[in-house]
Amino acid sequence: MGKFAPWVGYLIALLGLPQLFDSVLAITIFNQMAIAIVFALSYNMLLGQGGMLSFGHAVYFGLGGFMAVHALILIEFETVYFSITLIPLVGGLIGLIAAIFVGSFSTHKAGTVFAMISLGIGELVAASSLIFVSFFGGEAGVSADRTFGPPFFGIEFFQDVEIYYLSAGWVFASTVFMYLFTQTPAGSMANAVRDNPERAEFIGYSARRVRFISFCSSGFFAGVAGGLFALNYEFITEENLNAVTSGRVLLMAYIGGLGYFIGPIIGAVVLTLMNSLLSNYTELWMLYLGIMFVLTVLFLPRGFAGFIMMHQTAWLSGRLSSLVLPYLITGIPAIMFGGSILAAIEMLHHGGESFGFLFVTLDSGNALHWFALTSVGAASHFACRLSLGQLTSAWEEANQSEDTTERGPS
């Protein structure tokens, strides 16, 4: 039962969210999250588990999405007749076919060569999509209507929330299958080839073949995500297969935490939330996203999931509670320091006019405000530096190995 508990929790979370938050905005965000989760998980399959850094993963997402929209058009004109619940499968198959084709020559090497081929393919496909207007629709993209298919148990998918439940089903199934993939011999070999291709070859596995299998599976799930995108938005443009989308999925997977299965899910949720909520509050959210990304790479190389997993030792030995107070002592000034940096950036941005920041109104023309901000920033920075020592020692104490401390009754 304990093995299945996370999955039951995941399913309940997926199905329960629209019950808790049922506004139109919330459903829109949940739909975006569903797409992002599948896409980011498929990317992690490639980079986190297979060790292949791709700068063109959006190709499989986009091609799957385009074909899915075309499939919707075919349903609309009654050329073919099947339920739109299967549209993500169409996207997945197209992603798979594209991945089989590209993978046949790109998985020869991992590392820089693979990264460069993926960049080249990404640019080629993005540029071709603007040339072949009849299929890709040029700058405007192609659009369809999802409501023409045969109803699915009486549901005709007029509303976004109905699409959300459909997506949730696909997200859950995709997550389960991607997790199961990591448990298969192919998944274990993917890790082996990532860590040491030479040794994998010596025990009789073709590193290329192993990479090819990971690459194709990853392309399939990227295509599924593209199909979900097509169902949700009912249109798709060139932007969904170019370098910007490829970059975004890299960002999500990396910030969430590569190598941990749950990492990309965290990354997808956090980035989608930032994307849709933060952009309401500030024009500079892209700048903050960039800062966050660079700081994550610098200080949390294993992402948010890695940060959480760092506490495993302390948790298992029951000493996690001893870390709460030290975290608060260092964390509060750290947050204040970060906040004053943000306030300074916003003040520079709003040259000369006053604006609301959190609970106060700031005016960049007012020297007193600058003075107050600098003092808060400097004081919190100082407090942060001062308290860092106690956090480090508390951390070391909580993570001491079992041998050096006395064992409690078992």
């Binding site: 080249g120 080629l124 009849s134």
Partner: protein
């Protein structure tokens, strides 16, 4: 016809040499640290913006002097305080870091200078036609661009192969531990080379800004092309980068100037398709249309058939 050819060659030369200025720094940094710096073109963009800001106060020539210095200092700081830290986490982390840095620099440029195009102009001193050929003018500024690029190439080549510093740098690339044992500060050498590499990108930005327009997307426009050049030329090879830069520059400029298309090829083969053929877009392709894609096509082909590039070393 000849007139088109001559001018495409000249323009291709200008573009190619400009690309080389970026590629030389990138390939130098690659051979040193084994990492492709995604943010390299962002330093080129910073060069243009710094020069624009300086030129508003002190004029173009001051910009040409100060902007590369600023960019180089910034590059050295990035190496010292960020890249060195990420290096411990492996190559993927480094590549991803430079990718994030490129993203951040683009946003920062929009923050400080705004999203609009800047009116960064070439100096009045060079505002005259250098020569007139077939009734078309070739501006002195373009001649100046060629002169600067060639000059930098010669100086770089001389310093790297003939001077004592160059020999130490080359040794540090292949045998860092031995060089360190001989008493040289290898991390400092790396920092300086990174700084000089980014400063070169800065110079390219200063002189390209007025011609290619100074706007926040200018790094993206050139960024991936420079990657292509470095890979096609053979990672780490300065000579290969030089040949590949000129090749890509000329290829693009010829493709844009030509008016050949698929229809000509089909005529040659005696084939004809009606307008409503499903693949009509394919049959009506023209060379100028696919000019931006050609470098990437070349990249993929080179990587498939000769992954070490034109002048790359044979893989172990």
């Amino acid at each position: 016809m000849l007139e088109v050819f001559v001018f495409s060659t000249l323009n291709g030369l200008v573009t190619g040499l400009l690309l080389f200025m970026l590629a030389s720094g990138l390939t130098l940094i690659f051979s040193m640290m084994g990492v492709l710096n995604f943010a390299h073109a962002s330093f080129y963009m910073l060069g243009a913006y710094f020069a624009y800001s300086v030129s508003l106060k002190l004029g173009f020539w001051a910009g040409l002097f100060f902007a590369p210095l600023l960019v180089g200092t910034l590059g050295a700081l990035v190496e010292r305080y960020a890249l060195r830290r990420v290096h411990a986490h492996g190559h993927v982390a480094e590549l991803v870091f430079t990718f994030g840095l490129a993203f951040l620099i683009e946003e920062a440029v929009q923050f400080f200078w705004g999203a609009d195009t800047k009116n960064y102009r070439s100096p009045d001193l060079l505002d005259f036609p250098l020569f007139v050929l077939f009734g078309q003018e070739f501006s002195a500024y373009r001649g100046f661009m060629i002169a600067i690029s060639v000059g930098i190439f010669l100086v770089l080549f001389y310093v790297l192969t003939r001077s004592r510093i160059g020999i130490i740098i080359q040794a540090a690339i292949t045998h860092p531990h031995t060089v360190a044992n001989l008493g040289h500060n290898v991390p400092l050498i790396f920092m300086v080379v990174f700084g000089v590499g980014t400063a070169l990108a800065g110079v390219a930005g200063v002189i390209a800004g007025p011609v290619l327009t100074t706007f926040p997307g200018m790094a993206v426009v050139l960024g991936s092309i420079v990657f292509v050049i470095v890979v096609i030329g053979g990672l780490g090879s300065l000579g290969g980068a030089f040949v590949a830069s000129l090749m890509i520059g000329l290829l693009q400029s010829y493709a844009i100037a030509s008016n050949l298309g698929m229809s000509d090829l089909l005529n040659l083969l005696g084939l004809d398709f009606s307008r409503d053929h499903p693949l009509n877009d394919l049959w009506t392709l023209t060379l100028p249309q696919i000019a931006p894609v050609l470098p990437f096509l070349l990249l993929v082909l080179v990587l498939i058939f000769r992954p070490t590039g034109l002048a790359g070393k044979r893989e172990e």
